[in-house]
């Protein structure tokens, strides 16, 4: 009796088993993102490696007030994944690749070229610079995943004025809203410079 005869003989059990597997797979597919986001990638797990004093939402050194995750709920606090794990099923995988150090491993390595050039900066600052540059390039899409410009309710006149000017000057969130959460890192002098059409070209003689 070969394998096919056995499968045929116990076809009811096989169908049940396949059904269970299918249900499990579908369930896993459905639960993958919410479970990862809400139960696996907790701040506590992040803080297993990342210093709580630098990253933990309860101990954010630079924060003057909580970075609320729910408007008007002062007890709510954005968690690590709210900003660091993009929404989407596939993006959820980044949590696991990050756990395995696949994504950030190289990013944390020393900047040998800069060191040789005598321009070494602390890794923490370098990381902040990289992230800010990325946000400047991608129009602060991390912020925009939660904050919608048209729906921002300003508490003070300066917010209205500043955002009006920022829109006019085509500025992006990170140019003003920096050092909100993690340990403060000064914004470097040459940050947030838009490229000019003349950049890289030889000046006309």
């Amino acid at each position: 009796m070969d394998i096919f005869d056995l499968l045929f003989k116990y076809r009811k059990a096989v169908n049940v088993a396949l059904g269970v597997v299918a249900v499990l797979i579908v369930s896993w597919v459905i639960a993958y993102e919410p479970v990862t986001r809400n139960f696996v990638a907790q701040d506590a797990l992040c803080n297993y490696c990342h210093l709580a004093s630098e990253y933990n939402s309860d101990e954010r050194l630079s924060a003057t007030r909580p970075h609320l995750s729910v408007v008007d709920d002062k007890t709510s606090q954005a968690t690590c994944v709210d900003c660091h794990l993009p929404e989407g099923w596939w993006n959820t995988t980044y949590a696991y690749t990050h756990f395995l150090s696949f994504t950030d491993l190289f990013g944390h390595m020393r900047d040998r070229d800069a060191e040789r050039a005598g321009d070494w900066i602390p890794p923490r600052a370098a990381e902040a610079y990289r992230v800010r540059d990325a946000m400047f390039e991608n129009d602060s899409n991390t912020c925009r995943s939660c904050h919608v410009e048209a729906e921002i309710r300003f508490k003070r006149e300066r917010g209205v004025n500043a955002h009006k000017l920022a829109l006019k000057e085509e500025k992006t969130c990170i140019e003003c809203h920096n050092n909100l959460v993690h340990r403060p890192v000064d914004v470097r002098e040459d940050a947030f410079k838009k490229a000019s059409p003349s950049d890289g070209k030889e000046p006309k003689s």
């Binding site: 004025n161 000017l165 003003c176 000064d186 914004v187 947030f192």
Partner: protein, 434 residues
Amino acid sequence: MKRIALAIGLATFLAGPAFAGDPVTVDWSSVPTKNIKLFWPGQSTYQWLRSPAHKRANLQTKEGQACVACHKGEEEEMGNKLVSGDHALEPMPVDGKNGLINLKFQVAYDKEDAYFRFQWKTLNDYAGTAHPYWRYNGKEWKAFGHPKLDAVVQDGEQPGIYEDRMSMMIDDGSVPMYANQGCWLTCHDGERDSPDRPETSAVKANQLFAHLKKKDVRKYLPSTRTDENASWDKGKTPEEIAKIKAAGGFLDLMQWRGHRSNPVGMSDDFYVLEYRNSDAGKNPFSKNWDKAKKAPKYMFDAKKFGRKSVLFEDIRKMPTTLIRETNAVAFDPNAGWKEGDLIPEYVVSREDSKGSAKDNDRSKGVWKDGVWTVVWARKLGLTNPDDKALKVGGVYSFGFATHDDNITTRGHHVSFPMTIGFGAKADIEATMLK
């Protein structure tokens, strides 16, 4: 008391004869009034504004962004917040201080002069015409009365006494960023009543301040310093500073003073460059103190003033300005002084003022029903190297401030900068008089 103050004001107002270009004779009813909000700035120094503490705006400020880009319409909110002490920028809150003063401002001109009129309500129900005095304690003369930001006043050791003032700061476009950031270019850490104030010995030891023969730090422009943070102790050389001045890179700063200039119908004339410098010549006031004798130089002339000194109970109820040519005589140490006798710390003189420092010799203020009304004329087209010459067709950046309720240094209410045009488009357009 109000009637006495009114009488004082009217007496002062009418003291001098009317003359051509007299700001009193201008028909102010034909000149539009602009309402300007003056607010309490606390210790918002140049350095603080460029620090991360100036959240979400420090980089923009460094780039020269205008204060009003964010803070337009926020004067009252900011003033009230800062003056309350509920902010790191006010470590020495003054009891009962208001955060905002509404200034009514008018400006006009003719072929010869620019005319300004200021009106503002004072916090107190008396005119701020008193100024610190020398007080005889039975043995010697000691300083009596201090501005309200001083610890001795806040601790209750000394009474708060200081003259009211109205100030104008002017640029013609020569000072970078002034049009956008105004007076905030001149207020720095290290200055009086500001953070990180240095010891007198440190100031005296500094090369620039030794050259200036100054022992404290006052307003200065960032262009006169060598470092990006415009630190008080990083001054450029006198030669470099002279070049900046020759190129017009300074600000005019003029103050009408309730005690030290108004009684002689004047305002002072200073300019801000590496320090808050007096214009060439002599302003209408000088210290009434003989260092060698450790006594005042002048006292009141009893024949003209009715007494040789005043008492604490007298001040603000009668004129107490010592005017060299009107009511003063040389101090007599043997005049039978009694404990509590007061002689003004300053002596004032219109006759002794001279040079470019005398340019504002047509200013008069009257306090009535809790409101100061100050009128002021300034000649157009001045050619002094320490003045910003106002000209017909010109647009100038102005900043205004008033010191109200016995206070000095940063204890003023200030405006954001604005432009005034004399026959030209600007935020405020001066009315041409016919």
